[in-house]
């Protein structure tokens, strides 16, 4: 297997002299790795501008695109950690739904009491993190394959959300909450600022901290990491908690965006989130992750939807195109990345 990897995507020649040149570092670094994505994104914007003109290429429209991407984008940041660590989290969509339901239910029940709307936020984040904790413990200590453990959470969390909400939609009427999350700051919606904040925090966490280093190490070789003294199981739990936390943040954003909490929030989001992260260049087998790539990945998807809507094309056509684009993007990604992912 290890040989296949080196074969599939030939390693770029590496300079033997100690500090690689700036250009090489750029190309070998995130700009180079993301070149395929940047090209894909540029082509998409070009197509949008050509087919929909000013309606597409307007500030407001870009805000629309990014605001749509922001809820999913926040989850992409958490998912990037999980996948980099060699795991997968199929439950993010469901957990987001569950967190939104729990938080809005509290909001509705406390509508009379004079509690701060921060409580809504705290509950959503706590529910998300808790679900992540359960995922992490079952995977790391129960040694259940991540795919199955989080699939179980996907099914279970959705059921739980339906049960506690009795399948009804909870409308949040707390004005403080709504005003905050539906507001603009410097002409840009708060949701986009939150997305930006989470992405930047995620980038720093992954690339500049010991937590990020551990995540990459565990995903690259869990056994070697364990024997080097890293607490692999505990770290995996943290990583899933992080993913749950971002699902909780996404739930708050969704509450702000739609004003309601319901068990149907986040349906099938896991597929879009995973697709964006992998298209972005994070290796599904672990050991390599890029937040910039994940953000570009989700922006590409949401621009795609926008371009199609601008041109009045049906969801069916969108789906066919999306399928093709996923494959093409992964292929491009492999071509431009310094190392590709193996064929399985």
């Amino acid at each position: 297997m290890s040989e296949q990897i080196t074969q599939t995507a030939p390693p770029t020649p590496q300079a033997h002299d100690a500090p690689p040149s700036l250009l090489k570092r750029m190309l070998g670094g995130s700009a180079g790795r993301n070149l395929g994505l940047v090209i894909a994104f540029a082509v998409l914007i070009l197509v949008g501008t050509l087919t929909a003109g000013d309606r597409f290429a307007s500030f407001d429209n870009f805000v629309t695109i990014i605001r749509y991407a922001s809820v999913l984008g926040v989850m992409c940041v958490g998912m990037t950690f999980v996948i980099t660590a060699g795991g997968i989290d199929l439950s993010v969509g469901s957990v987001m739904g569950l967190a939104s339901t729990m938080a809005s239910l509290t909001a509705v029940q406390l509508a009379s009491a004079q509690t701060s709307w921060l409580l809504i936020v705290v509950i959503a984040l706590a529910v998300g993190t808790l679900a992540g904790l359960v995922n992490g413990v079952v995977i790391a200590y129960g040694r259940v394959v991540a795919f199955m453990a989080t699939l179980a959470m996907l099914v279970g969390a959705r059921g739980l959300a339906e049960l506690i909400s009795n399948r009804s939609t909870q409308i949040v009427s707390d004005q403080g909450f709504l005003e905050f999350f539906r507001a603009d700051l410097l002409g840009v919606p708060i949701l986009i600022w939150i997305f930006l904040l989470v992405a930047v925090a995620g980038w720093i966490l992954l690339n500049r901290t010991t937590f990020g280093r551990r995540t990459v190490a565990v995903g690259g070789n869990a056994e070697a990491s364990r024997l080097a003294g890293i607490k692999v199981q505990r770290h995996m739990v943290y990583v899933y908690m992080l993913s749950g936390l971002t699902a909780g943040i996404a739930a708050v954003m969704m509450l702000g965006r739609t004003t309601v909490g319901t068990s149907t929030h986040g349906l099938l989001y896991e597929l879009d989130v995973i697709a964006a992260v992998v298209v972005g260049g994070t290796l599904l087998i672990g050991g390599r992750g890029t937040i910039v790539g994940s953000v570009l990945g989700i922006l590409i998807f949401s621009t795609l939807i926008n371009v199609f809507t601008q041109n009045n094309l049906s969801t069916s056509v969108q789906n066919v195109a999306k399928g093709v684009i996923i494959v093409v993007a992964v292929l491009l990604q492999q071509r431009f990345a310094s190392r590709g992912s193996p064929g399985k």
Partner: protein, 504 residues
């Protein structure tokens, strides 16, 4: 010796590069029927690449291959197998989920119309295993449950299951103990007696002396000598041909340990249920203790239990007077124990990460302030060790995967040097490492001991254990048979003990 018009296999001017790496830059090789032709060279010289072009796993960029005088191209593994070239690869190439018989007939299953003949495959496998001196292994055994040594035997059996003219063995003895190596040699002699040629790759020059007929030496992708007679070439000359310099292939002399050297590590009645029991010994500062024994005797497990990578079920481990929590690697590392594991690639390294991150894998936390890493300082610390150990290439940003075995081993040592350890556990520190790097690692281990580190070495090469260690524990089937000064016992002595131990 059979004389024929043409050599069985002849290779001229073979080249092969991988995006930027010139692995082969002109290799000549000529193999006669019925001989054992040894291929020597340092790590990364291109030996495995050479044999992979012969087995059809790689396509050469240029050069010619002649088979019984006829020029051929080997388009793929099937083409090579059909001509009678079978290969035992360096990386174990068996499938864990299949039985021994299924592994042996993989790709040439005994079947009619796609339907398998399970019974006949099992019967033929049993025959081959018996021929290999392992008639006691059931052909139905799942390969995943076998030890590395037995997997090597399956690999061998697979080569024999075909109608072969040439068997290529890429470091077959690396995972074998001396007893199994004897068995291997017996089979090789049988094969050559039938006119089958063997290409044999090993870093152990003593083995070459015992079994080889002729030698080809490869250096930096070029054959620097071909067809040397084993009997006419001295060891120092071989080493010069391989490395381009003189290497003292002797173990560095050990200073006697100071009488007042403190006990650093002490194991008291340590045991892991079903694997080993009642292991008690002490290691003092500056002392090298060797664990000798056959493959599967439980030596790795003892190291793992000390290190907390495996939870001990009885007994205690004490470092500098403090008892360790069983089953916690983090506690062991914090107490100053370091382990260089047996399987370098799968247990030791993150192959796709740069050298410096592998070097600091156990200690990167130290280069961080409230969680934020300072990569500059980290790289600097790694660079110091890289230079001290003469790790090549000396570029801390190089991806680890491309390094030779010896240099990968040095990364693991560098890791613990950066971290700083009181006790160093070395499991097979020279497996697959070439003569030059071996000598460097030996002297490094000595230097570390002299600096006061307590060291435990496990090796399948008994002479290595005896040469490196001050004191030796002989282990068999999870029992410590004896503890003695390394000077008071020799290789036959150890083997004798082990035999009697396992018979009892």
């Amino acid at each position: 010796m059979i004389t024929v018009d043409h050599p069985l296999l002849e290779v001229r001017g073979l080249t092969k590069s991988f995006a930027g790496v010139k692995a082969l830059q002109g290799v000549d090789l000529s193999v006669r029927a019925g001989e054992v032709h040894c291929v020597l060279g340092q790590n990364g010289a291109g030996k495995s690449t050479l044999i992979k072009t012969l087995s059809g796993a790689y396509q050469p960029d240029s050069g010619e291959i002649f088979w019984q005088g006829e020029r051929i191209t080997i388009g793929g593994p099937v083409a090579a197998l059909e001509r009678g070239i079978a290969t035992m690869y360096q990386e174990l190439d068996v499938v864990d989920g299949l039985t021994i018989a299924e592994n042996i007939f993989l790709g040439h299953e005994q079947a009619t119309g796609g339907l398998l003949h399970v019974a006949s495959a099992n019967a033929r496998t049993a025959e081959i295993l018996t021929r290999l001196g392992h008639g006691e292994i059931s052909p139905r055994t799942e390969v995943g449950s076998l030890s590395a040594a037995n997997k090597q035997i399956v690999s061998m059996a697979r080569a024999l299951s075909r109608d072969t003219r040439l068997i290529i063995m890429d470091e077959p003895s690396a995972v074998l103990d001396s007893q199994e190596v004897e068995n291997l040699f017996r089979v090789v002699k049988e094969l050559t007696a039938q006119g089958i040629a063997v290409v044999y790759i090993s870093h152990r020059l003593a083995e070459i002396r015992r079994i080889g007929d002729r030698i080809t030496v490869i250096k930096d992708g070029r054959s620097t000598a071909t067809g040397l007679s084993v009997t006419d070439t001295s060891t120092p000359e071989l080493i010069r041909l391989m490395t381009g310099r003189d290497v003292d292939n002797v173990f560095p002399a050990a200073e006697p340990i100071a009488a007042d050297a403190p006990v650093v590590l002490s194991c008291h009645e340590l045991g892991v249920r079903g694997v080993f029991r009642n292991v008690s010994f002490e290691v003092r500062a500056g002392e090298v203790v060797g664990l000798a024994g056959l493959v599967g005797s439980g030596r790795s497990e003892i190291l793992e239990a000390i290190y907390g990578a495996r939870r001990s079920t009885s007994g205690t481990v004490t470092v500098n007077g403090e008892a360790l929590r069983p089953g916690s690697v983090a506690a062991a590392v914090a107490a100053g124990i370091g382990l260089s594991p047996e399987e370098r690639k799968s247990q030791g390294l993150i192959l796709d990460e740069p050298i410096f991150k592998n070097v600091t894998l156990s200690s990167f936390g130290r280069f961080a302030r409230s969680g934020f890493l300072n990569e500059r300082r980290e790289r600097q610390a790694a660079r110091e060790q890289i230079e001290a150990l003469e790790l090549r290439p000396a570029n801390p940003d190089m991806v680890t995967r491309t390094l030779s075995g010896g240099n990968q081993q040095k990364i693991l040592l560098a890791r613990w040097l950066v971290h700083g350890t009181a006790v160093l556990l070395l499991d097979e520190p020279t497996r697959g490492v070439d003569v030059g790097a071996r000598a460097e690692i030996y002297s490094l281990i000595r230097r570390l001991a002299e600096a006061g580190t307590a060291i435990i070495v496990v090796s399948s090469e008994i002479d290595e254990v005896l040469g490196l260690a001050d004191r030796v524990l002989v282990i068999s089937d999870g029992d410590v048979l004896t503890t003695t000064n390394a000077n008071d016992i020799d290789e036959p002595g150890v083997l004798d003990l082990v035999m009697r131990g396992s018979a009892a």
